[in-house]
Every structure is written in C-alpha cells, then in structure tokens.
C-alpha cells in the first residue's frame, strides 16, 4: 500500500459510467436503398396517419370507423373483424404473429425491421431530414454545432425545434384517433371539448416523439432497445447482413506509400459519414448497425466514380462471405432468403394465421352461459314434479337486436318456463328478442315428471334470423335419489 503513488489515487474526479455521446450528423446520400427507405417511410407514415380516417360501414348499430379501439364499449374493430373482450385471444394471436413475423423477417433478411420499418428509425430519419433542411448537410451541421450561441444559431435552432414539435404533435395527435371516432374527436380536440385523456395522451406522445426522435435517436437503438440484443442471438451465418468485404477492400487507402497494391477501399470515409447511427461498417458487424444499407448506397456511388465494381459493402451472409472470399460466385439473394429457419418460422406464422382465420370464420356471435341453482339442487312440487332452476345468460354479440330461441334437451317430459312468464306456458323452447350488444339474464325453471332420475340436460341457443348460429351449454338435472317417504 505504501508503495502506491498517492498522487494517482487521491482527489480523483468521479468516474463516468459511460462514454460521452458523440453527436451523429449523417450525410445525405442517394441510391437504391435510400429510395427504398423513402418508400417504406412514406408507406408507414401514410398507414399511421390515414388508417383512423378510413370508414367501414357496419350498419346502424356499430361505429363506421375501419380501425377503432373502442375502450369505452370494450370492442376492437378492424375492418370486417369485430372483437369482444372475451375474444381477446385474437389480439393475443395477432401479437404472437407480429412477434414471429419479426423472427421470420430477421431470419430471412436480417435486421430489415430495424433499418426500415421500426418507428424509431422512421421518425429519426424524418428528423434527420429536418436537420438537413434547416442546418444544411453534414459539414454545415457540424460547424453549426461547434459554433458559439448567437442570434443566427438561436434562430436556426428555434426554427428546427419548431418543426420537430410540429412533427411530434401530429404524431401524438394521430394516435388518439384510433380510440374514438376520428372526425368527431378532431372537432372536439380543436374546440377544447375533447376528454382530458386525449390531451394528456397527445402531450405524452409529443414529448416522447420529440425526445426519442429529435434528440436521442440512435441511442435508443443502441442503449435502450432490447430488440438488437435479441436479434443478435437470432442471427446466424445464413442471415443477410450489411458487410464490408475486407478481402476486397483491404489494405485501404488513396495512395500506397510503398507502392504495394491496395484494395478497392479508397478510405473516403463516406460509408461512416452517411451512417445514421454513426458507426463504421468496416469494423465488422456490430450492434449499432441497423442494416439500413445507406453505406451501400454511398460506397456504390464511390465505386462507380472510381471505376470499380459495386458491392464493396453489400448485403451478404457470413456463409456467403466465406464463399466469396475463396473466389466462388455469390449466391443469389432469393436463395439465401429461403433456408430452413425461414421456412420453419414461415410455417409457424402461417399456421397461427390460419388458425386465427379459421376461428374468425367459425365463431358465433351469440353465446350462452348457464349456472344451475345448487341450493336447493332440486325441488319437489305439489304435483310431485321435480323442478330445477337455472340462471341462463343469453348473449347477443352483434350490433343489432336478434331473435333467439332457447331449446331444452333434457329428461323426457321436461318443460321449462321463465320468471317472466307463467308456469302454464311451460314448453320445450322459448323465444326472445335480445337487444343489440347485450347479455340478457333469465331465470329458467325446468320441471320433469315425478320419478325422473338425475341426468344430463342441455340448453341450445339458436339465432332465428338469416345469419343463424347456434351454441349449446351442457349442465345437469338433479332429482332425488329414491322416492321420497
């Protein structure tokens, strides 16, 4: 202890837990992947903003918004599909499909979700275009970032942040339209009559969009998002990755100082300059790479200008990369995409989808629940008949009144009547009109002649209108063990 240098140990500033973040100022680039990114971005934003405004006619009793999460009435509308709370497994199924869909996409085309379709990527890209619009391209941005605060810089910053804010508000604002009738809510929103939850939702989403898209950007992908960690466990040597072909590029340089032959990489640094997450792909696969392929666009441009073949940076699998390194021909991408893992995921994904579609196609929009009175289990009437009582709940899940018939299938001679009619009208079936979207409870008495033994009994609920549908509920009929003395 005494031979340690006290100077190096005393009064040290506290150690930082992370490296200082370097601001990323990606340079504009053009190319096939950039154009693909534009297309995907436009599509995603269009879907996000337009969907709530699509109409879907469902008749007079249901809302006509194509996609609507109606929390108040506990319904989820999605075009022709209408989901009740007890059918939430459809939503669970869709979420599982979305999850397996991510696996499928990852196994086929690597981190395409991250690079193109992830909301964080889409909005970050949008904000980076705003940066270029206001501050200029990469060099101008870096210069402005270093410049001292003055009227010009403040004006530019305020202008840029105002546009950020506009984008953020419209992002948060679009979200609430999924939960209520969009035109009505829009009108209420601007006239300050919307429910406070709408304003707080817009406020929260505005803040998060502004913060995540405007300021945190690639740090969300690198430090916050769990998906890259999961993905890195899912990628294998058959996954498409954006790869720098070092066997072709190295040694890199503009001019060899020794005259030794150089690789194709002229070390222009453009691939790193255009990267939206600020990495250098030439350092190999890394977690910061979202495989957006803008470096491929940049490098291909340079290769063209210098008269070398394109594809120094390219979508390649590790397996194929080894083949190319040995001078063998590259495998076509369509072949790479179809390997065992992709097919297995596709199979699971399609099976769940088919199961959901099947369930959707065969589900009934009516249901019945019966609970038998157990105290007392049965009752002897003065005539000696045995009576059981049941609480029957008829459920009409459609947005229109339906005529329904309840039929009894029980012991011979059994008849039923309900609390709202007289015993003399007892029959084997009852017909009622159940109002739209309603669960109607009805107490049912079933009588069987003296001497009936206990046994099975079931109620069948049948819709009598044109669409039909039928559900049953099996229960039991209780009777004394032997003759009462």
């Amino acid at each position: 202890m005494t031979n340690m240098d006290p100077k190096g140990l005393t009064r040290q500033p506290p150690k930082r837990l992370h490296a200082e973040t370097q601001a990323v100022h990606p340079r504009a680039v053009d190319g096939r992947f950039r154009r693909l990114k534009w297309a995907v971005m436009t599509f995603c934003l269009a879907v996000y903003y337009i969907t709530p405004w699509l109409r879907w006619h469902r008749g007079p009793y249901s809302p006509d918004q194509a996609v609507l999460i109606d929390l108040e009435h506990r319904r989820f509308y999605m075009f022709a599909i209408e989901i009740w709370p007890q059918e939430f497994y459809f939503v669970a199924g869709l979420l599982i499909m979305a999850g397996i869909g991510l696996f499928l996409v990852t196994s086929a085309v690597g981190r395409a979700w991250c690079g193109y379709a992830c909301p964080q990527t889409v909005w970050t890209d949008l904000f980076q275009h705003v940066d270029r619009l206001i501050d200029g391209d990469r060099n101008a941005q870096m210069k402005l970032a270093k410049a001292p605060w003055g009227p010009a810089k403040i004006a530019r910053r305020l202008g840029k942040w105002s546009i950020y804010l506009l984008i953020s508000i419209s992002t948060g604002g679009a979200w609430i339209f999924y939960f209520a009738d969009a035109p009505t809510l829009a009108r209420e929103f601007v006239t300050l009559q919307a429910p406070s939850i709408a304003y707080s939702t817009v406020f929260v989403l505005t803040c998060t969009t502004m913060w995540f898209g405007g300021f945190m950007r690639e740090q969300v992908c690198i430090y916050m998002c769990p998906w890259p960690r999961i993905q890195s466990a899912m990628l294998d040597e058959k996954s498409l990755l954006v790869t720098y072909k070092d066997w072709r590029g190295e040694p890199r340089g503009k001019k060899s100082p020794t005259g030794a032959p150089l690789g194709d990489c002229i070390d222009c640094g453009l691939c790193a300059a255009v990267c939206p997450t600020g990495i250098d792909i030439r350092e190999g696969p890394q977690i910061g790479c979202i495989t957006c392929a803008l470096c491929i666009d940049a490098c291909d441009g340079v290769m063209e200008k210098t008269g070398r073949p394109r594809g120094l940076i390219d979508y390649v699998t590790l397996e194929d990369s080894a083949r190319e390194r040995q001078g063998l021909a590259a495998t076509p991408h369509w072949k790479l995409i179809w390997h065992a893992r992709t097919l297995i995921y596709l199979g699971i994904w399609s099976a769940i989808g088919a199961a959901l579609l099947f369930a959707l196609g065969t589900r009934q929009h009516l249901s019945i629940a019966v609970s038998k009175d157990r105290n007392p289990p049965y009752m002897i009437l003065s005539s000696g008949d045995i009576r059981n009582a049941y609480a029957v709940r008829w459920k009409n899940m459609e947005g229109r009144p339906r005529k329904m018939q309840l039929t009894l299938d029980g012991p011979a001679g059994a008849k039923m009547w309900s609390e709202d009619m007289s015993k003399e009208m007892a029959a084997r079936d009852l017909t009622r009109i159940i109002p739209a979207d309603t669960t109607a409870p009805l107490r049912i008495y079933v009588t069987a002649p003296a001497g009936t033994h206990e046994g099975k009994l079931s109620f069948t609920l049948r819709a009598l209108d044109q669409d039909g549908g039928e559900v049953s509920y099996a229960t039991r009929f209780d009777a004394p063990d032997e003759d009462h003395d």
């Binding site: 006290p6 005393t10 007392p376 009576r387 008829w394 009208m425 409870p441």
Partner: protein, 314 residues
C-alpha cells in the same frame, strides 16, 4: 499502522480510495468520510417534516384516556359512519318508492321489483336463513319457500301478511294460527283409528293403494278432518290447513310421520317481523320469497311474454 503525515491542515486522505477520513481511529481502524447523497438526506428531512405534519393533522399521538384528535377531526369511525350514511342515502329513494308502492302494485314496476328482490335476498340472509335455510329450501317443520305449496297463500300480499304477523305470535291479533287437535294424545281417536286415518291420507296423496284400513279412515276423516282440510283433503288456506293430496309434506309423508302428526299435532311458529323490520324490508322479503319460483299471481296468468325482450343487463 501509523498515520502518514499528509493531513497537516485537515483530515487524512486514505490512500487506496482517495477519500478523506473522519479523523476517528479505533485500534487502527479508521472511518472514511463518505456522506449520504444530498438527495437522500433531503428526502429524509422531507419525510420528517411530513411526519410532523401528519401527526398534527390526523389523530396519531396516543394519550392516557384518549389520543390526539388531529386538526381535521378525522377518524376511521367517522369515515365509516359517513360511508354508511352515504350508502343509506343512496338506498333512500328505493326505500321511499317501496314505502309508497302497495305490494300488489310491485309487479307493475319491474325495475323496483328487481331492486326489491335484490334487497330481499340480503334481508333473507340476515333474518330467515336460520330456519328456512340459505337456499330457502326449508327443512322438516320449516316450510320450503321455493315450491308451489303454500299454507297461507303464495301471493305477494299473503306472504307479506305472514311476514308481518308471523305464525302463532302472542300479542299479535292478526297472527296466523292453525289449530290441529292432537287427535291421538287427547284421546279423540284411538290408536287404531289414527292408523286408519293415516291410511286414508296416504291413499289420497297417492302413496298407498286402497284397502280396508283406508276405507275405515275415510269415514273417520269425514267426521274429524274435513272441517279444516276439506272434503277432498285439499286443505284450506283460511286456517293454514295443508293440502293432504299433494306431494309436499311439511313434517314428512311417511306412515310414521303422519301418525305422529295426527297423534300429537304440530304447532310451528314464526316470528312476527312487522315489529322488527321496516315495512319496506318486509315488502322486499315478500318480493324475494315470491320470486323463488313458487310465487302465485294475483289474478289469471299473464299473457305469454314470448315475443317481448328479456330483461337486460350485463
């Protein structure tokens, strides 16, 4: 361990950690000066301030006879009382409506009837379960309220009257009293005659075939029993005389049970609830008992409700 001389003016700096010491030393063990984080300290101070405020505002400090009252005067008992009052106030309109509605008009107001049945169910659990059972199925000597057999009538008003005045309640002029003589015990009938009457009763209730004993019993029945039970044995609700031809037996329908009844008679009692429960509660109880499945209508059966919408609710 001797202290290095690096602290001429202040506490010594610990070499391995670079942290100042407190200047204490016990057997060569020194304490490093690592104060609590400021935010933690301020949170702690804020908690102390909050605790003092809490003790002032709420009853918190125990005393010898009673504790502090707090500036708000809040107590958990007071809160409970307020909640009970609120619940009472919420029930008041229903009770007022029940008070204003004659019981025979209840079926005309299905909404009120439903509330009355629900309230009656609760009141039944409190007051009636010990004798009639939690499912109102009764027991030997305690009528089953689910069936369609009524000693005193099964309309809403009949049930209300029974509830109000009870059975065999001294001091209540309107109480219901059935008076079956103890035919055997009082020597009105000889034991052999009792057996003949029993045979006849079991004949008319379909439990035994006709035989000589029953034939003899018929004559005895005509002489002794028809006044209350009627010539056909179907009973009389005026006197609370049960129908002897049906399959429902309050005290059992076996030969032994009927012999016991004819010999010693039974005299069941029920409290008169009119002086214990409010008129509204009595109405609710009557509505509940009526709803159990055996309730009788006032007039001819209502028209079939087949095409009307069922009562709704989630």
């Amino acid at each position: 361990m001797s202290a290095p001389e690096n602290n001429e003016t202040g506490p010594r700096i610990d070499e391995p950690t670079g942290t100042a010491t407190m200047g204490h030393e016990w057997d060569g063990i020194e304490e490093l000066n690592t104060p609590l984080p400021t935010w933690w300290l301020y949170t702690f101070y804020a908690c102390i301030v909050f605790a003092i405020g809490y003790c002032v505002v709420y009853p918190a400090i125990p005393g010898i006879k009673e504790g502090s009252h707090g500036t708000f005067g809040w107590t958990s008992r007071g809160q409970l009382a307020a909640e009970m009052d609120a619940a009472k106030a919420a029930r008041a309109p229903v009770l007022a409506a029940l008070d204003a509605t004659p019981i025979e008009d209840l079926p005309k107001n299905p909404e009120l009837l439903a509330k009355a049945v629900a309230g009656g169910k609760a009141a039944f659990k409190v007051n009636c379960v010990p004798c009639h059972g939690s499912g109102a199925a009764g027991s030997i000597g305690y009528p089953n309220l689910n069936d369609d057999d009524w000693l005193w009538g099964g309309t809403l008003t009949d049930i209300q009257t029974t509830l109000e005045h009870g059975i065999r309640q001294p001091g209540d002029d309107a109480t219901r009293t059935s008076m079956m003589p103890s035919f055997g015990r009082d020597g009105i009938l000889k034991p052999a005659d009792v057996q003949d009457v029993v045979s006849y009763v079991r004949l008319i209730s379909g439990q035994e075939p006709n035989n000589a004993s029953a034939q003899r019993g018929a004559a005895l029945f005509a002489a002794n029993c028809v006044a209350c039970h009627g010539a056909d044995g179907k009973g009389n609700r005026m006197f609370g005389a049960p129908n002897l031809t049906d399959k429902v037996w309050l005290y059992g329908g076996s030969r032994t049970a009927i012999t016991e009844t004819v010999t010693n008679a039974h005299a069941g009692v029920m409290p008169a609830w009119g002086n214990r429960l409010s008129p509204a509660t009595i109405k609710m109880l009557a509505a509940y008992v009526h709803s159990l499945g055996g309730g009788e209508a006032f007039a001819a059966p209502a028209a079939p409700a087949a095409e009307t919408a069922a009562s709704t609710g989630q």
